[in-house]
């Protein structure tokens, strides 16, 4: 009785204390641990192998850390590895990839954001049909369209040459590949932007119209500043997608303009001489670096943007 009166009006504060080593937690962290080992082990092997010399690799202990750390494989992968007659390593592929990546990302996002904005806020007769057809494009396997695109690019190049009087080749050039990446990014990016702009309160759009802003005025001054997270999401999707692309790169370019992924493949798969595992590992890590950096630099915005875009369909 006395206890009850003494504690009158006192209620527990803060979160309920939890046991650290409950069976649930052991299960949870155990599973997480196993899963991370499963994914990190290959990465670990790649890193240690790339830091070893060839004699050490021949000993066969793939999991052992390097006895003598050497960065020579990295240098060789970047600047000296040979593909065919060219012996300037991955560096050329890297710069080709940058030249393909930057315009592809900028152009595809610029067009898709305006698409999404128009399809969500400036609905016109048939806009839903248009959108459905566009989304349908996301479900067609790329392989089906490769040969038609080869012909289209070749013909379009000829038409442009005839129009301008100078020789323009789209097939086999960096710009041809940029066009292909832009088109193939369109369905998913448009969907992304349309859903994001559909979640913007409609009254905001109405208020801007009453205030006399037009199509572009509302896009640039009202919608664009609000859409930063979704732009980051689109950028990450495009950068990773385009950087990691191999299929289009190998088909629509030629040896001088091969992107980094194709260059990597050619280095790793070259059949002459000894297999230099350490160089191959270093080259692979180098190629994967760009998407990784982009992701770590903007991962937080990525998650937020994905969540924001998912609010309304």
């Amino acid at each position: 009785m006395t206890d009850a009166t003494a504690n009158k009006g006192v209620t527990p504060r803060g979160a309920k204390p939890r046991r650290r080593l409950s069976p649930t937690n052991i299960m949870l962290y155990g599973t997480l641990f196993v899963a991370s080992v499963y994914y990190l082990l290959p990465l670990y092997v790649m890193i240690v192998t790339s830091l070893k010399g060839m004699p050490e690799i021949r000993l066969g202990n793939v999991f052992s850390p390097p006895v003598e750390v050497t960065f020579e494989p990295w240098v060789k992968a970047w600047a000296e590895a040979c593909t065919g007659i060219n012996c300037d390593g991955l560096s050329r592929g890297f710069w080709n990839s940058v030249q393909i990546l930057v315009p592809s990302v900028v152009i595809s996002i610029a067009i898709a954001s305006v698409n999404g904005y128009a399809l969500s806020l400036w609905k016109f007769k048939g806009s839903e049909v248009f959108f459905t057809i566009l989304i349908f494009g996301a479900f067609i396997p790329y392989q089906v369209m490769i040969y038609p695109i080869v012909i289209l690019l070749r013909e379009a190049g000829d038409v442009l040459s005839a129009m301008t009087g100078t020789k323009i080749r789209l097939m086999g050039s960096v710009w041809g590949l940029v066009i292909v990446h832009t088109i193939f990014g369109m369905p998913i990016l448009t969907l992304l932007f349309r859903n994001y702009f559909a979640s913007v309160p409609e009254e905001l759009f109405k208020a801007a119209r009453v205030d006399g802003a037009g199509f572009w005025g509302i896009y640039f001054r009202i919608m664009l500043p609000m859409a930063l997270p979704i732009f980051v999401v689109a950028m990450i999707l495009q950068v990773t997608g385009i950087w990691n692309d191999f299929l289009f790169g190998v088909i629509f370019t030629k040896p001088e303009t091969y992107p980094m992924t194709v260059q990597l493949n050619n280095i790793v798969n070259s059949v002459q001489g000894v297999k230099e595992y350490n160089v191959n590992m270093a080259a692979t890590l180098l190629t994967g670096l760009v998407p990784l950096i982009i992701y770590f630099a903007s991962g937080k915005l990525f998650v937020r943007g994905i969540a924001a875009g998912a609010v309304k369909g």
Binding site: P201, E203, L204, A207, A208, V210, A213
Partner: protein, 360 residues
């Protein structure tokens, strides 16, 4: 002079006819409230007047000009939205001046107009803040300011106070009334809140299913509702309806077991004739106490339930076979089961035809 005219306005969304040949005339400087339950088409009508929806048929004139196919910004209107709809990335000043910049108003004039609007609405200290740093009431003031700076003839309000809490809503309601008295602009105000409608309006247009049911002054709408729907919609607690027949010559109204005299009833056209009808009696028109016997109709009832609201007491009972509510002023001393003597004048109520539900 008529300021806003809506002629035969029809709007269809696919096969659904949302507004049907709607006509409306709003005088210059008038405060018109569009009142109705949700889905009645009141906000849709406002959006049509603003030019935010393309109409199917009809005409809209503002200030004597046919603006049916003009852009919202060219119609000479300012609009305030329920969700405030402030541009989140701009400061209050940016929000206020956005429309003026679009209209290419010279900079010194923009500054002047923004300063004037800020002074009227007392938001000068907030000019450099972003909307996220404002309270609900402040945001709505900025939203009103955005309409104010545009120097327009017609203000459109789309449920502007619905997102505010009760106290703030009452305060801003008074401010809006003062603002209207000061500016003398034409204002069209959409709400589902009848208190807002009764207190703010010069005239109320009650809408249902895309059709205007009655358009009249608040007192007229309350005292002489044009049909049974309006009578039931206006007034809180809601009006009581009796089902019965008007006797020959319109002298009395008879339910199954009760007869109520109708002497003195002002019929809307001609004299009352015998027919089945509804009689509506407002809960406020019932009298109790010593004055009961002055009333043309008196009876004894049993209190079934009562609600003490502080300023008055609401009593629930059964009269002539139907549930009946009435209001007693003050904190009346009643208890469930008590027998009370009440009286009212049925001729001060409203009679509606049984089938058409129109006022008789």
């Amino acid at each position: 002079m008529t300021n806003v005219t809506v002629k035969d306005l029809t709007l269809e969304f696919g096969a659904v006819r949302v507004l049907d040949k709607l006509n409306l005339e709003i005088e210059e400087g008038e405060f018109l409230v569009l009142l109705g339950a949700s889905g009645c088409g009141k906000s849709t009508l406002l959006n049509c007047i603003a030019g935010l929806l393309d109409i199917t048929d009809g005409e809209i004139h503002i200030g004597g000009r046919n603006v049916t196919w003009e852009e919202p910004s060219e119609r000479g209107i300012g609009m305030v939205f329920q969700s405030y709809a402030l541009y989140p990335q701009m400061t209050v000043e940016g929000n206020l001046s956005f429309g003026l910049k679009n209209a290419k108003v010279p900079k010194p004039e923009i500054a002047e107009r923004v300063a004037r609007a800020a002074e009227i609405l007392q938001i000068e200290p907030l000019l450099k803040r972003k909307p996220a740093a404002l309270s609900g009431g402040q945001r709505q003031r900025v939203a009103i300011g955005r309409a104010l700076v545009r120097d327009v003839d017609v203000f459109l309000f789309d449920e502007p106070l619905s997102n505010l809490d009760a106290k703030l809503r009452a305060d801003l309601r008074v401010e809006l009334k003062l603002l209207h008295q000061r500016l003398q602009n034409t204002m069209i105000y959409v709400t589902h809140d009848q208190v807002e409608a009764m207190t703010l309006a010069d005239r109320i247009a009650i809408m249902r299913g895309g059709v205007v049911q009655q358009i009249a002054s608040p007192a007229e709408v309350y005292n002489r509702p044009s049909n049974k729907y309006v009578a039931g919609f206006i007034g809180s607690p809601t009006i009581n309806f009796f089902e019965g027949d008007i006797a020959e010559g319109g002298v009395e109204f008879a339910t199954a077991d009760t007869k109520m005299p109708l002497t003195g009833y002002e019929a809307s056209q001609g004299a009352l004739s015998a027919r089945p009808a509804w009689l509506g009696i407002r809960p406020e028109s019932v009298i109790t106490g010593t004055d009961v016997d002055t009333q043309p109709f008196t009876t004894e009832i049993t209190v079934e339930l009562f609600e003490a609201m502080g300023a008055d007491t609401l009593v629930y009972t059964t009269l002539a076979g139907t549930p009946f509510r009435f209001r007693m002023s003050g904190q009346a001393r009643v208890a469930a089961g008590d027998t009370l003597r009440i009286g009212f004048d049925p001729a001060q109520g409203s009679l509606f035809d049984k089938t058409t539900e129109e006022r008789l």
